[in-house]
Symmetry: D2
Subunit: 290 residues, 4 copies
């Protein structure tokens, strides 16, 4: 959709201090940038300041490199941590799956409809079941099975594929394997997982069975960045659905698929639209706009 | 999934009267049927009684025809309106679309995952845009364009396709054309439409623009049976999502797609699982179980 | 509101078996009772059958005692566990609080508006702070402080008050003390607690701080029957509210008050309307109607 | 709660233009104010810019009058519309009711718990029914009945009471009378009404009956500023609750009370916390924080 306004997005965080907003806004204004949108958050407990700025790309009078070099001088002075993204760049995404297809279908369909600004570059699975779907959509599919003996070598193959395909974001769309600490550390803030439970409740395996046994009246799903500790990474998005006594563990699983789908999709979309800042084990997720 | 219990489902309605539950339950018991599940509703305003009964199909000792003939004698005596369905029958569904793909993708994906007990037998559109998707999933696609002059003849072609493909249910998955009264009358209770507004608010065209202009804080979608009067048929399912001042009419439309998808899917699923009884302009939708 | 239809309500559970619905419905029909409403649930995993029946009280041609004696013969034959309630009886409720008033205010206000069919007979607290509210509404207030030494004797005083006031239901409306096993066993199924967290997440103290630290995107509340094991009793009702990074632990607490209020109120209402059956550690909560 | 940080809040709107954020942030910074919180919104359709700024009151080195005079020079230069509020000021609120008490109780209880930063200065009703509640909480109560002949003179009495009590905000907490255009014009942006329907659906009288007849699957409530046109003013807050076929119009009304309560409370709270800007017939409602 060529008509859509192109944007430069800055994600900034720093220690909170007087004048940071004035300085930043003035910096952009003095270089003739129109701030289309500015979102901020101050965590007074932590004394931490967070900011997301959208600029109109048509105000860009230099190369991207020059803008970034220029800004990095300012950032150094004010001790800012920052990232800069351009909305005309399509992130390259790898989806990892096992046997369940609902999240995979959903992400592909949303991307085809133009709702996710990305290219789904490859699908990796430890099972062959979903190759058919990959073929339907002409997405490269890699079947990399796992046995206790091959776990490490399989992961090496995965990581080398991610490098080869120049991947920006990995989405674990119901990938039922645990990644090594090495992997999650190297890809920190770049792997999104969907957990089929309302974390921190029902960590680990079989959350729907646990939910049934505990007799909960709502079930949920949680999308989070993968971290070394299973199901402990920074939460991006959660949602729930009301259930009642009529549902068996299988019934809960069926009902839960819908929540998993939309929670994962929202988290991936927020990441791809550069609306997330991670701080310690929490996320600032700025509101969608437009 | 051959292991799933096969069921016979009776949907019954009648004038409310003492003893109707006892008589019905006894009728099935005396023929050695185990009632797996029984849901009822009495509308005391209307003096109307509604019932959904699930029997275990392995208790069926006669032909289906014999069961139905036998029950019809009982039904006559008690003046019951009724339908009988067998869970091993896959309903044949036609999906009608225009240019927007999100509901179509969603229904196909859910059916492929086994969440809808149906066969999507054909896709009909007044635009050629979505043929690619039909091809991807090897579903017959019929492009039947409409001009003011051809509106009637196009509808005749549609209806003849529905007959030829032996269709049980038509789903208007964002089909942006109005059906004739003749059509909706002939297919009463067999056409489900998704309206991208929270009916009865925002009837007619451009509901997201109207929602923006009115400054609402939630937007919604409504699935209903098509009737002669546009957007006036019996409502099956509704849902909403919270929005804020950040969203333009286009933003509302994007956010609304998710609600449309799941509202339509839930309505279609309820219909296919024989959980809906229509009475006047209202629906009784029995809870999902299992 | 004298005009409201009076009802007799039976709550029944038993091992599932063929013909139980026919037998029960026929039993009432043969005694000329009109079944106003019948709700059922079969737990196929557990092989357990649950039923709630509403009869029109004007069909009662015997004393209540005679009805119950008569039914108990039938129940014995079919091995039913059952309870019988009459909607013209106002349950006597004791509310226990500490210092926080929002749930107390809410329950009193709802009862004054006629939304809970009960009499709030007394308020007990381990702090004097809320006596003013009790006085405003002319409800007896007992201040029974607790020290580590007096914990047991305080509880004895509480229990003797409950007996003296002929209490049917105890509501822990943010009572920040743990009851003894003796107490919860003796009052099993008759004490409802509100936990300010989405159980089983955030058990124990300070759930809002824990929720903040974990960075969850929704917070919730859980109403459950008190049991020996803290925060482990059968869940009656849960709800959540969406939160974001703007909220500190105190902000979460403020936002959470609204969820606590309505979750507790709904649970108490379901109990008072005899819509709950407990089975093992789960509840069947039949839908509200009317 | 004396320990809570005192704040100065600016609500600003103007035509959108480059540099407005830089200029405003710099203005406050140059006068040594710490911006605790800054929220913005740009409506690109309308070319309109909206801003809410929270300053730390302990940075105030002048009188309030001096600050406002100083800022008004800046505002004139940049053509800003603005308001300035101080969080240590308790707004004076009048509540108008008819016979229904649930919203009244709820607002009083929330205020007593410290959740609304206001003083409920008086209650006005066209019926005597709720005087008891006013007395319980020692709030002045004025019974001003209405007949077709006295409608105008009654309204004059109401308006003179609002003046006499120096009222900042009028809350119509289920006041079942229509105010004159004169009144709503004079009090524009200062009267909040709760409508017991999901506007724009079910305008006018008896929304629950209409909702029943239309067979909707969710009912809602809408809080909005009163305007000349009935039920047409700027919407502040909406919410819904899922309902099913079991509920009669009276049942819907009972279920709806809960939504009315919390929608009205959230709207009043947003107004009292100076989080709302009105523009044409829409509201910008900035997120709660803290």
């Amino acid at each position: 959709m060529a008509s859509i306004q192109k944007k430069i997005i800055f994600l900034i965080q720093c220690e909170d201090r007087k004048g940071i907003l004035a300085a930043t806004a003035t910096w952009f204004y003095s270089r003739s940038y129109n701030i289309l949108h500015c979102q901020q958050h101050t965590d007074n407990n932590e004394g931490r300041y967070f900011m997301r700025i959208e600029l109109d790309m048509k105000d860009l009078q230099t190369t991207r490199k020059e803008l970034e070099d220029d800004f990095s001088l300012f950032a150094e002075e004010y001790k800012l941590q920052w990232k800069c993204r351009y909305s005309d760049y399509k992130s390259r995404v790898a989806i990892m799956v096992s046997k369940t297809s609902h999240c995979l279908y959903d992400l592909i369909a949303r991307n085809n409809e133009g709702d996710l600004n990305c290219e789904i570059s490859l699908i990796i699975s430890n099972h062959p079941d979903l190759e058919l779907i990959a073929n339907q959509f002409r997405i490269p599919f890699y079947y990399l099975p796992i046995t206790p003996e091959t776990k490490q070598s399989q992961e090496e193959k995965v990581r080398s594929l991610l490098t080869r395909f120049d991947i920006d974001l990995v989405v674990l769309a119901r990938y039922m394997q645990i990644l090594s600490s090495d992997f999650t550390r190297a890809w920190q803030g770049k792997i999104i997982n969907i957990h089929h439970g309302f974390l921190p409740a029902f960590q680990g395996a079989n959350p729907y069975l646990k939910a049934y046994q505990r007799g909960v009246k709502m079930i949920g799903a949680t999308a989070h960045y993968a971290s070394e500790d299973l199901d402990q990474g920074p939460i991006i998005e959660q949602d729930v659905v009301r259930v009642n006594h009529e549902l068996t563990p299988n019934g809960l699983r069926d009902v839960g698929k819908d929540v998993e789908r939309r929670v994962l999709a929202r988290a991936v979309q927020a990441h791809l639209e550069s609306r997330i800042i991670i701080w310690k084990n929490r996320t600032i997720v700025f509101d969608v706009e437009g």
